[in-house]
Symmetry: D2
Subunit: 304 residues, 4 copies
């Protein structure tokens, strides 16, 4: 498979969508990103790397950070993690408080905001220097020491993050947050503020594409079975209330973020990252979704 040519073909096919959707504008730092970026990178399990366009331009990974947080929590808590967060698709918008209230403070899965806030709380009580250790883990996964937090984004998110503040208070009310709510919010937004480019993201996700060996990075160890299970959760819960649509059209486990990035995995084969800032009404990148749909259609290779 000539992936390089395929990525270039994909780009020409998604180009007509370039004006569709709109950039996340709830904080100035995100709103000012040029909407016209497009980058894509695929790393296969043989160690080859294929990249096009803005694959080397960093952007705010936002909710994609939840995958790294889940890996760290699963490593330290094992199956007991699921006492505090579920693993079922949410069926409603990613930030719904309704479900949380009905289900008495147990978030539906770790990839909705409520679930990731619980992950943040777990990390704060499990790691000595959670900010440093999270960054060290991400850096080792992607092989870049210059990946870091964007403090301006993190602060800006906190200042306007009333919905997440509502969620973490509701979780605390239901006794599913141990730490101070402000501490949890700050750390959560810090993780979301990490900036990476598609090349770094694809390399980082390759570690989750099961290639038969161990997962051991920066002190975080996961069994092969745990890696498979993380992929299962990405498959059913990775795209807010568009998880079914993504599974239907693309057929790969993955995770998206409101910065316009999407990372996905074809187990045993490759990891792929795509970035384009304009989002559809569900909060997923318009060109990114289409690019991945074309990728699995052209290769006739989804996991199904």
């Amino acid at each position: 498979m000539d992936y390089q040519k395929l990525l270039e073909d994909i780009y020409s096919q998604v180009l007509p969508l370039a004006g569709e959707g709109k950039v996340a504008d709830y904080i100035p730092a995100l709103a000012k990103v040029s909407p016209d970026h497009f980058g894509m990178c695929l790393n296969n399990v043989d160690g080859e790397v294929f990249a096009i366009k803005d694959a080397d331009v960093r952007f705010s990974i936002q909710s994609i950070s939840k995958v790294f947080a889940l890996a760290m929590c699963l490593a330290v808590k094992g199956e007991t993690l699921w006492k505090r967060v579920g693993k079922e698709p949410s069926g409603t918008a990613f930030n719904s408080l309704v479900q949380l209230e009905v289900e008495h403070g147990i978030p539906r899965n770790p990839f909705i905001n409520a679930g990731a806030l619980v992950l943040a709380d777990i990390m704060l009580t499990s790691f000595e220097n959670p900010e440093e250790e999270f960054l060290a883990f991400v850096r080792e996964l992607c092989g870049s020491e210059t990946v870091g937090y964007n403090d301006e984004v993190a602060l800006s998110e906190r200042e306007t993050g009333f919905l997440n503040a509502a969620i973490v208070n509701l979780l605390k009310y239901h006794k599913n947050i141990e730490c101070d709510v402000e501490r949890v919010l700050r750390f959560y937004f810090q993780m979301c503020s990490v900036e990476m480019n598609c090349m770094e993201l694809a390399k980082a996700f390759l570690a989750f594409a099961d290639h038969g060996g161990d997962f051991r990075h920066a002190g975080i160890e996961l069994t092969r079975s745990q890696i498979k299970r993380m992929n299962a959760i990405m498959q059913t819960c990775g795209f807010y209330d568009e998880a079914g649509e993504f599974s239907y059209l693309v057929g790969l486990p993955g995770k998206s973020g409101v910065g316009g990035g999407i990372a996905a995995i074809h187990p045993h084969r490759y990891a792929v990252a795509v970035w384009s800032p304009r989002l559809n009404s569900k909060g997923n990148s318009v060109m990114g979704m289409k690019a991945l749909e074309i990728l699995t259609t052209e290769t006739s290779e989804s996991i199904f």
Copy 2:
């Protein structure tokens, strides 16, 4: 892989669960099934068949019939089908009216009851003799001319089917049912009443395990892409509000029924059917779920 030995090992491992869960008892015809049955059958893409225990005893396939109905609707309607039913996981119990009301009569996916009632309505307007054509399709898929409806079960379900009657009336109110509500209910329950054994189910589902060729059975044609997409929907929506759990533990697309049957697929490899009547609180077979979890753990082969 010695699948025959594996199935026998699985049986010995799930045996300790034999007393857990309870048989569906909402109609007498289901309640009278002996709770101690266990059958399992695996058909691989090379044409080999591996079966143990009660793999040749027929049972009520119930909601597994929704997969066959979806195949027929997708074949005649194509992508326009999704105007009348969604493809997102439901996130709530399989029979919830709440979501239906909030979303104005578009069922979340074709595998919740509301969605399957819409499928029934579509079939009634698309096929000349829907009861006959559905049966002909199922018979050709499983290669058995003796597979048939159980009229006693169908009638009994209709007599006590007040929740489904509520759902179809609500759908009709939202103008998402064309036919007479009674006609839709009768046909829906008729499809659910089909009786098959694990050998027949595994053979029928093998047609959905993509092996590179066409899907053309009893006049129903699906493209390779459509087959993949059906599997994606089974993956995200096939197990009511336990879809995430099944995906996490088993990692295969599949569909369960309250008769205690589960059919699942490993694309390009095999189809597997398991049956044990005792259900967990979510309506899925206790021993069946566990048997499939062991299958993918022992073979280290889930789709992830």
Copy 3:
């Protein structure tokens, strides 16, 4: 108080609203009513009657019939009635199934459709000839032997009554309906189809304006305390999800119907009925609501 002059003043004040709102059009029989009618009648406890305009033109009382049904059920069941229906305001649209599902088949109050369907079921099991006895009761209350059902309306409602059919099936599923669902629906729609004019309605409701004596009409007996309690329910639940608004603006217990009628009571003083077919978005008569607001404002006499 010169009520005759007041009614005429009110009419001139509400006239500018004559074109606002729209006539209920979900069945042809209601849709064909001329939207320009306006009638009003006030009966005080001294036996005086004040009427203007179309006060003698009959219309479909629709949900106002629920008050008569409640009186009959309360008379035969007493406080045990409240095991099958609540007495709290619904807080949501009058036909919401959500609440019913969440609360496991106990309707929030007797004046939402679900509650009135339970009343219909109770009457079917409590009276030998419920259709006749209901009509006899209404006729005696209003003093007119010519008041009757409109069979065309009742049939037409049944034919398009999918939402009510959904509700009664859901109630049956939750075991809060004893009779056959079709029987309940027919009787419910029959009661709604009664036609009365404002003079008849005001006279009928005068029986609920506590004047110190017994309530004993056509064999239906209620204590003084029960009459007060019926008024309390009209106050908190009589206007769908606009009960608070009506209580705020008008300050009288009452009940509205989608035929455009409203009947209200000032305990110890008078009963009043008003009719104008154009409805606001909540299903209450635009001119009727305003007329009653002016009535209590001009007289400085609400119950508060």
Copy 4:
């Protein structure tokens, strides 16, 4: 009417309920109140005062403070107030976030917590020294200069007030809070912490029992119509999700608090306050509810 004797009779009748229910214990300051208190006081419009037992023992008025806050907001905002808060009964538990989310940040009424938090925000932007002016208003209404805040209670509520913090953040997210969330929470809990006894409460509420004259207290002016409308809101919304029950059993507008107090009004006749700390499952005083039911039953005088 010999009210003094009646109150004593009532006490002997409610005494058998003395052990039922439990004291609010979500903060230590409330939990430590002796559960065996019972006080009651009735002030009629002729200026007579009737009091029994612990009518002179102060307690935490909690949500009863919402009535005073509403009066102040209605005085400064008039009908424009209703752009930011509704006036319909809530139909769900007093602290439900579900409704708030579904209705995009407009609380159902001013007496649920969400509504009162909006009132607090309005007061913070409308009064120069809101803490002082609120206290001055309450002191003038009840004629006691020693009535004051309990800072320990207010602080303790804030420290554990995660649900209210969730609500105010959600309101802020929906742009229905202008001030800083922490400021709003502090002021809200400050108002709730006011301590009064039944004699003071009954006197304060007498101002809302329309006796034909103006409402002008500590600079707060309300028209006669506004007073009636406040009573209407107390009637439909004053008792959380037990408003219908209270209306049915007692038939007076009123407001309860989790401190065990209830204040109610018979327009043109009297105001009454009762206090007993043990609460039923809905958060209303067991003995207090019963005492008021007996009061209106014995006098045959509800508003209905």
